[in-house]
Homo-oligomer: 369 residues x 2
């Protein structure tokens, strides 16, 4: 293993994600020299002393190997280039799972939300994720309870690609109840972390993990979020990175949707109701654009207003002459005559030569779409 | 009664709402001369012949008087000036009810929606209307089944002002099942129409009635609407008049909310979840603005990120010295020391002089708001 890879692995153990000072140092002198200075422990780097004393990158690499995790560093084929949009991109990523990470994240959407979710939210998250996965999009989430887990499961259910970004080392199972879920994700997709194997999940690491989820994906969808849900932190990161954000609405009586509604009101998120609308939001213009939602189209829907008024005046039985239709609609006779002709051509009206009536037809009431 | 009033009453019987040609004529020669020309029936005005033959304005005025309705024309004190924003304002209004119409509509919101509404939608419409009415806003709707009726009822339930705009004459009860509802509105608010007493409700009149609702109010809120709901027509009118439009979200699994979601996605409507948010949307800036929705605030919420990281590192029992906190957080000692001082001052941490720990306090977990 190259010195650079080893140094980056060491940094992921020594330094908290998002540490601007060390990031600037790495930018200045490179990772190998940066690790040397941190380990020397002089001046501002004394704060890393306790971690330097227990640093054992060989052990971390061995732990990774034991759980089938590999080290991915900037410059590797599978490095997700989108992460370089971050002010403080990860020093490296630890990755468990068969998918080439960069490729999988190329067309990816973050599906996130509250841990305390309603069954409405969980079902939607699963459906949305399944829909996205079916259309070839990778579903990225945080493997937490609630919306996160539902999203991963939705993608897995259709044999889709899904990536879990953890706040702890990739060898750790958090929450413990998701042991089987994480194993399944690692079998077919990827379990990813920027902190070294063995590292514990901590609040600050969850917040930094959220920035990874936002940065690694083309856009983020919040399915359910209370006003104080951590998933709104992911939205903040996505907004800062100018990634599109979608939010799924729900009943206004449900506090689980209040955060989503607030994001939409604040203009930080676009209201989305389906996988197609999510892809419309995050996908490439043209290639991925979806049709706006429409109700069923009935024959006669596209009529000019005056033609519609004339049609409305006609009876199904008997018939009305031109003068009578003029009287009912108060439209000029020329307009009524032209409207009757158009309605006849479209099969909506019929005439005996003197009077007109509505034409009963199967298509007139059929739902075209 | 002046000739002008009588002429406007006649126009409301002879001419369909929104007839641009007659509107232009009235603008040119005034209502009296316009009625004379229409009654002469020459040229383009022949189309009104059938109605001219049965015109009896005295009878219409008598019918109005019988149901306690009055004629309101432009220039009257209670003429709602906002209607003059319309390209084709009504020739007059027929009004049943004790409220001075212009004043009641001064602070008014249209609350509209689907006739086929869910119980979620109806309950919300009633709550929203009650909230608006309680805050002194007049609730305007169309007296239809579903959302409209729920909105009127919500306002009536808190003795608030509510105005029903009809597509038929004010003496007609449509739908028939709303006889009691319309009577209650007429007792305390106002039942209004721009077509003469006796006129039947027709599809084209419903569409024109929707333009009145949009024009007469400061803004429109759609509570529930399918993709093809007529209430979206009201939204179109409101948008064209540059009146603010709000839409209430709902479950994406409910087709009754699909039209609302689409309006929000199209940027024609702002997502609203409460009466306060509606008033924020349609009210005067400053005077009526509402606070954004917030979750409960816990002590420590406003902490600097580094203070929060330090607080997270502290135990409840025992204590950690400065060096240990530095080791756990990898923050520079100066920053850790400053953070500990701030946390102590805020009552979130305590110290024995050498070590620090979290302070258990009632306020630390109390919900402040």
């Amino acid at each position: 293993m190259s010195d650079v890879r080893r140094a980056r692995a060491a940094l992921s153990r020594l330094v908290e994600p998002g540490d601007k000072a060390v990031h600037a140092l790495v930018g200045e002198v490179g990772p190998v020299e940066a690790v040397e200075r941190i380990c020397a422990g002089r001046g501002t780097y004394a704060r890393f002393g306790a971690r330097v004393r227990t640093l054992d990158t060989g052990r971390d690499l061995a732990t990774a190997a034991k759980v089938g995790a590999r080290l991915v560093v900037p410059g590797d084929d599978e490095w997700p280039e989108r992460l370089d949009d971050l002010p403080t991109p990860p020093f490296c990523l630890w990755v468990r799972g068969p998918v080439p990470l960069g490729e999988a994240l190329g067309r990816s959407v973050a599906v996130v939300g509250a841990r305390i979710a309603s069954s409405y939210g969980e079902q939607l998250a699963a459906e949305l994720a399944a829909g996205l996965a079916t259309r070839g999009w990778t579903v990225v989430s945080g493997a937490a309870f609630g919306i996160d887990a539902a999203a991963h499961r939705g993608a897995l259910a259709v044999d889709g690609a899904t990536v879990a970004m953890l706040a702890s080392g990739v060898d750790r199972v958090y929450p413990a109840a998701h042991s089987r879920l994480l194993a399944r994700i690692a079998e077919t997709g990827a379990v990813v972390s920027e902190v070294a194997p063995g590292c514990a999940p901590m609040k600050s690491r969850f917040l930094q993990r959220n920035r990874l989820i936002a940065a690694a994906t083309r856009g983020t969808v919040v399915v359910e979020a209370g006003l104080r849900s951590g998933s709104r932190n992911t939205v903040t990161h996505a907004s800062e990175l100018a990634r599109p954000v979608g939010a799924v609405p729900g009943p206004v009586t449900s506090m689980s949707s209040a955060g989503c509604h607030q994001e939409i009101r604040d203009g930080r998120a676009t209201l989305v109701t389906s996988a197609d609308e999510v892809i419309d939001l995050v996908g490439d213009l043209g290639q991925d654009a979806c049709e706006p939602a429409r109700g069923p189209v009935a024959a006669g829907d596209a009529l000019l207003p005056r033609d519609a008024a004339v049609l409305e005046a006609l009876p199904y039985r008997g018939g009305l002459d031109l003068e009578r239709v003029v009287a009912l609609t108060t439209l000029p006779p020329l307009i009524v005559r032209a409207a009757l002709t158009r309605l006849e051509l479209e099969g909506l009206a019929e005439t005996d030569g003197t009077t007109w009536r509505k034409r009963r037809s199967r298509t007139a009431h059929a739902v075209v779409q």
